[in-house]
C-alpha cells in the first residue's frame, strides 16, 4: 500500500471512529434513560418521599425533556466541557482524571510484564512444539485461563497476603498514592496478567507454529538460513499480527476499568467510577466515560491495525 493509501485509510478509520463514538454515546444515553429510576430516585434511596424526589429532580434539571439534556451536554462537549456530576456537582473531568491515574498505572504495569511474558512463553512453546516444554506451557496457560479473575484474586490474597503475610491484601487508603506502595500492586497486577498472558502466548505459539510449517519457511530452510533467523525474522512477525490485535483488545480492557480487580483490591479506578455512576444514574459522568472509552477503543484498534499492516503488509488492511 502506498503512503497516500495509508493516509486515506487512517482518515477513513478516524471518521468511522468518530461515528462509532457518537453511536456509543447515544446508545449509552438511551440505555441509561431506559434504566428504571433516575438520579433523583437513586439519591432518595429508601426515603422515596415523592415530594423530595420531585424537588431533587428539579434541582438537577431532570424535569427537562431527555433530548434537551442531551443537546445541552453535546453543546458543552463541543466546547470541551464534559459537564458536572448530578450526584456531587463536581466537574466530570475531575472524575475521569481521578479515576484514570490508578487505571493507567495498573494498565502500564500489566502491559510491561504482559508483552515479554506472553511472547516469551509463546515462542518457547512453539520452539518445542509437541514436546514436554510445549505441553507444560500449554496446559498451564489453559488451566490459568480457566480460572475467573475473582477466584484467582481471592486465592492469591488468601495465600500471599493473609497466610504468608508477604504482601498487603488490598490497596485500601493508598488510592491517592499507589506508587508509594508498590507491594500493594503486586497481587492486582498478577490477577490482571493471568488471563491475557495465556491468550497472548497461545496466539503467538499458534502463529509461529503455522508460519514454521509454511512453504516459505521450508524454502528458507532449504536455502540454509539459520534456524534462529527463520524463527525470529520470518516466523515471529507472522504471529505478531494477530497478537497485536489481541494486545489492543487487552489494553482497551485494562484502560476501560477492570471492576473485579478494582473492587477486590480497593483501587479506585475508572471501573469503580463507572459502576457508581450507573448506580447513581449520574448521566453526565456515564456519558463522559462513554466518550473516553469510545475514543480509547477506536485509537487502540487503529494502532493495532497499523502495526499489523506494518508487520504483514501482504495481508492487506481492511477498513
Amino acid at each position: 500500500m502506498r503512503v497516500s493509501g495509508l493516509r486515506s485509510f487512517v482518515a477513513r478509520r478516524l471518521l468511522l471512529g468518530v461515528a462509532q463514538t457518537v453511536a456509543v454515546v447515544l446508545l449509552v444515553f438511551a440505555l441509561t434513560e431506559a434504566l428504571p429510576g433516575d438520579a433523583a430516585v437513586a439519591l432518595a434511596g429508601d426515603q422515596p418521599d415523592p415530594a423530595r424526589i420531585a424537588a431533587i429532580r428539579e434541582a438537577m434539571h431532570l424535569d427537562r425533556p431527555a433530548y434537551e439534556r442531551l443537546a445541552d451536554w453535546a453543546a458543552g462537549l463541543a466546547r470541551g466541557d464534559f459537564g458536572t456530576s448530578l450526584a456531587s456537582g463536581r466537574p466530570v473531568t475531575q472524575y475521569i482524571a481521578d479515576g484514570f491515574g490508578p487505571t493507567l498505572l495498573l494498565a502500564a504495569l500489566t502491559l510491561a510484564l504482559l508483552i515479554p511474558a506472553g511472547f516469551g512463553l509463546g515462542v518457547l512453546a512453539a520452539r518445542h512444539e509437541g514436546r514436554l516444554v510445549d505441553r507444560l506451557v500449554s496446559s498451564a496457560t489453559l488451566a490459568v485461563y480457566a480460572v475467573p479473575e475473582f477466584a484467582l484474586g481471592v486465592l492469591l490474597v488468601t495465600v500471599f497476603a493473609l497466610k504468608l503475610a508477604w504482601l498487603p491484601p488490598t490497596a485500601v487508603g493508598y488510592g491517592t498514592d499507589l506508587l508509594g506502595h508498590p507491594a500493594a500492586l503486586v497481587l492486582p497486577v498478577l490477577v490482571l496478567l493471568s488471563r491475557p498472558v495465556c491468550s497472548l502466548s497461545r496466539l503467538v505459539r499458534a502463529g509461529m507454529v503455522d508460519a514454521l510449517a509454511s512453504p516459505y519457511a521450508a524454502h528458507t530452510r532449504r536455502y540454509g538460513v539459520p534456524g534462529a533467523r527463520i524463527r525470529y525474522a520470518h516466523a515471529l512477525p507472522n504471529a505478531l499480527a494477530p497478537a497485536a490485535q489481541q494486545l489492543a483488545r487487552t489494553v482497551d480492557w485494562l484502560l476501560c476499568g477492570v471492576i473485579v480487580v478494582e473492587a477486590l483490591f480497593v483501587i479506585p479506578g475508572l471501573g469503580t467510577v463507572l459502576l457508581n455512576a450507573v448506580a447513581e444514574r449520574d448521566v453526565p459522568v456515564v456519558q463522559g466515560l462513554a466518550v473516553v472509552f469510545g475514543v480509547l477503543t477506536v485509537v487502540l484498534n487503529l494502532g493495532a491495525d497499523l502495526v499489523a499492516h506494518r508487520l504483514t503488509p501482504r495481508a492487506g488492511v481492511a477498513a
Partner: protein, 522 residues
Amino acid sequence: MNERFPGLHRRGFLAATGGAAAALALTGCGDTEKTEPTGGTPKRGGRLRAAFAGGGASEILDPHLANLFADVARAKALFDKLADYGPDLSAQPRLATRWESNKSLDRWQVTLREATFHDGKPVTARDVLHSYRRIADPEQAFRAKASLEPIDLDASRATGERAIEFVLKRPTAEFPNILAAFGAYIVPENAGKAADFDDRPIGSGPFRFVSFAPGRSAVFRRYDAYWDGAPHLDELEFVVANEESARVNALLGGQVEYAHELNPTTARAHEGKGQIEIVRLRNSAMQAFCMKTDRAPFDDKRVREAFFLIADRQELVDGALSGAGEVGNDLFGKGYQYYAADLPQRTQDLDRARSLLKQAGAEKLKVTLDTSAVAAGFTEAASIFRDQAAKAGVTIDVKTGSKDSYWSDILDSGTLSCYRSGAMPIEAHISQRLLTDSTTNATKWHHKDFDALYQQAQSTRDRAERTAVYERMQRRLYAEGGFLIWGFADWILGTARSVRGVETKAPANTLDWARFDKVWLA
C-alpha cells in the same frame, strides 16, 4: 416529624441499628463514668483507620447531604447535633444542654452548652438557626428537611447568645427527636455552599479536618478543645472499600483497625478465633414484609392476620439473616422507648391461617412478592416465605426488581414487598410511614382515628400517659397492621484486637455508633 434514618441505599444499609435496652452511656460527662465494654484505661495517641462502604467519587463532606453510613460517620466526627439518640432511641442532649417546653408543647426553649468550632469561634444560637434554615431551604432537597418540618423557622429566634426559642406549628411532645434528627448537624453561620465543605469543613465535632479524597480517604485530627473531652486518638482516617471481602481482608492484613458492615458468615468464621474482634450491634435493622392495606387481597384484615400466622420467624432469621438477628413481633423498634413488649410473641399457625383465608374467601390465593438485591437477605427471605406460604395454600410469585430504584418502585405499586428499616424512634416510624399524610406510607395505612391517636400522643405532656397512647397504637398495628415484621438483624463490625472502647450496645446511627472520640488503641 420524620427521623431520617436512612435505610438502605445503593451499597447496603445507610443506617441500621439495634437498640438493646442497655445502660445509657452518660453523655457529656467526661470519660470517667462510662463503663468500657473492652476495659482498661484509655490510652492517648495513634491513628485509627476505619473502613466503610462508601459513595465513591461522589462523596461529599457537607453534613446536611449525608446519606450513607460512611457519610454519617464522617459527619459525626466533624460536626455535632443539638441532641442524639441513646441506645433506646430516646434523645440525649449534645450541643443543647437543656430543653423545656411551654404547657401546650408548641414552644420550646433550648439552651446551648459552651462549645467552640474548630476555628475557635463559639457555637451560638445564630449558628443553630442558620443550620436549620439551610436544611429547610425550599430550593434544596436536604434529607433532614422533612424532619424539621414541625418547626416554624420564621417565628423561631435567638433569645440570647446560647438560647433559642423554637416555635412549632403544632404541639410536639417528641420535639427533642427533631434535634437529634438524621443530618440535622450544626454548621457555622459562615459555612458557605456545599462545595466549600470539601476544602475546609469547620464543625464543632471531636475531630478537625486534615484532608479528603472522595471515594478514597478522609483524614481528621483530634480537636483538643472538644467540649465533650478531646478524643484519645491523634488521628482518624476513613477509608472506602465497597466490597465486604476487601474490608475483611484489610482488617485481617492489618491495613485498617475497624471494618464496618460485615456479613454473618464472616462474623462466624472469625468470632472467638482471636485474630480480630467481632462486634454485634443487636436488634438492628428491622426486617419485614410490607402489605398494601388499601388493595386486594390485603384490604381484608383477616388476610393480613393469616399472613402474620404463616411466617415462621425463626426460620426466616436463620435462613435470610444466617441466624444473625432475632425474631420480630410485627412491631417496629424492639427494645426502644415506648415499645409494647407485653404483647404475646406471634408464632406460626398454619391451621388458623388457612381458616382465616377461608373466611375471607381467599383460598388458593395468588400474590406477587416484590424483592430485590437491595438489602442483605431480601431475596432469601422472599423465597423462604414463598415456601412457608405454600404450606397454607397460598401461591407466592417472587418478582425481583432493580435495586437502584427499589424503594421508589414499591412505595405505590404492587401488593406485597420485602422491607427493612434502620433504627429510628417509634414515634418517627409512625409519623413517616403510618399516618394519612406520611411521605413514605408503603403499607397505605390511612386511618383518621390512628392519626388522631398520634396527635394525642404528641400533645400529651405526661410520659406515662404518652406511653399508654403509643401502646394503643401498637396494639392496633399488632392486630391488623400492614407490616409483617419478622426479625431484627444484627449489625456486625470487626475491629483489630488493639482497639478498645467500641460501644457494643449502640444501634447504628445512634450517638455511640461509630463514635471514634471514645475509642483508643491499646
